[in-house]
Symmetry: C2
Subunit: 272 residues, 2 copies
Amino acid sequence: KIKQIALYGKGGIGKSTISSHLAVALTRLGKNVLLVGCDPKSDSVINLLNGIIPKTVLDVVSQQKCISPSTVDDVIKKGYGGVWCCEAGGPEPGVGCAGRGIIIAIESLQDQDIFKKYNIDIVIYDVPGDVVCGGFAMPIRKGLAQEVYIITSHEFSALYAANNIIKGIRRFADAGGGLLSGIISNSRGKEGKPHIIDNFANAWGTKIVATIPWDSDLPGAELHGKTLFQMHPLSPTLNEFMNLGKKIISPTYPVSPTPLDYKDMYVMFKKL
Amino acid sequence: KIKQIALYGKGGIGKSTISSHLAVALTRLGKNVLLVGCDPKSDSVINLLNGIIPKTVLDVVSQQKCISPSTVDDVIKKGYGGVWCCEAGGPEPGVGCAGRGIIIAIESLQDQDIFKKYNIDIVIYDVPGDVVCGGFAMPIRKGLAQEVYIITSHEFSALYAANNIIKGIRRFADAGGGLLSGIISNSRGKEGKPHIIDNFANAWGTKIVATIPWDSDLPGAELHGKTLFQMHPLSPTLNEFMNLGKKIISPTYPVSPTPLDYKDMYVMFKKL
Ligand SMILES: Nc1ncnc2c1ncn2[C@@H]1O[C@H](COP(=O)(O)OP(=O)(O)O)[C@@H](O)[C@H]1O
Ligand SMILES: Nc1ncnc2c1ncn2[C@@H]1O[C@H](COP(=O)(O)OP(=O)(O)O)[C@@H](O)[C@H]1O
Ligand code: SF4
Ligand SMILES: [Mg+2]
Ligand SMILES: [Mg+2]
């Protein structure tokens, strides 16, 4: 059975970085992985394709009205480590719904039976969590992603976004929506205050499943359109991704989490 | 003629901080100011109301179907410095369109002729720029805001969001939409690289109109539900807000800016 997971978090928190490295880690653990970038920035798979952004699903659909068996190869590209890479794309700002690319991409992937065609074991959706509506809510709402991992730092705006994502998960949990498997801590080194994230994870009814350390080699590799696997294969940071990959392919127990009230979050944050 | 300005920027960039301090600065310059928080977080005016979040327009409308002359006092509260404070509110995550609160709030304010009733000189809309669609695009699209100020740091995700907002402005510029008056630099001290923002401002056809320094007294005052005006009245940081206020009430020349291609942004950012 195909495992589908979604990585959510506020913009700039490290979703692309973490999902691309996790995707490679999972291939090293023997899995056939499809990474679907759902950020209208379309920059989730660029570091697996040597700095190249592939044609997005929305691009092809806008031009040709649909993805056909002949055009699917335009949008699913084999990247570093054998990861299959795809970008949903997004509409122009001010036009329609920002999440529209995700809706169209996901429907196209399903229509074309992509997972079967490419023999996919694991699908990773990289999804912005700044707003949890329209297409951005789709991977959770429809339970396309059975499991959600939320990336956060100790900053209030990131925790607030995480709480919003959790509200979304809670809302659809009983209707077959994706459940929460854990929190990925990525404070990017800024005055790391790990106890803050710990406390919030607890309050949400979940736990931290990985802590990615600050590593300037990450943006460094990004400038070359590559991952740490290529640029610094001995980096200890890679162990975090390998360990997260191992957890993901082991039995996991996602939960229907408990969102917090804004007031309680604010009070709790001030105390920590 | 009432001046309406919108402060846009990605989540967490400093919109609430800057708009609330700017609002007070403008009252000190003799203006009657209405600050309308359009962030579903509803935390734009909390520091002008001693840490209290007022009833949001969306709350009242959901309960009572509309804002009436008798309920308008529930949603327009007089805050510190005499600033009139209002929160649009937002729907629950996963339900409908995240910007819905803005659409409803703005329509209600217009229906009730609020600006006239409260003798408003200047309206400030504090609007998230993570997605420029639905209600979030409304202040620009309808030219409700004649002028837009974009807050950014030197980080790529903030510049990308700024570029998206600029795409939105460009799209509606010829149809009477809001134009761009300038960039507010708020790098929050993180390895301040001012030349990065300068270069992007130039490329966009605009300029930096204010630079807010890193000041730990800002989050410090926020923890007390207050602004720097109350907690540190002699702080030099306040001069930045006063100067920005003076610029805003002087003749301004907003422009239809030039958005950049993602590729060009990426290349430019790497070089800087
Ligand atoms: N642990 C980390 N250490 C150092 N830099 C990081 C780390 N995680 C992410 N970054 C950098 O932060 C920036 C934003 O990360 P990105 O993955 O693009 O965020 P998102 O996809 O959530 O918008 C990138 O430049 C990335 O290299
Ligand atoms: N110049 C600054 N120096 C220090 N802290 C800042 C500065 N600007 C903003 N902050 C802090 O950053 C956090 C996010 O700012 P906020 O105004 O809430 O962002 P937004 O409204 O854009 O989401 C707040 O805790 C705020 O106090
Ligand atoms: S549903 Fe969300 S993404 Fe779609 S238009 Fe509304 S705010 Fe934008
Ligand atoms: Mg990304
Ligand atoms: Mg805010």
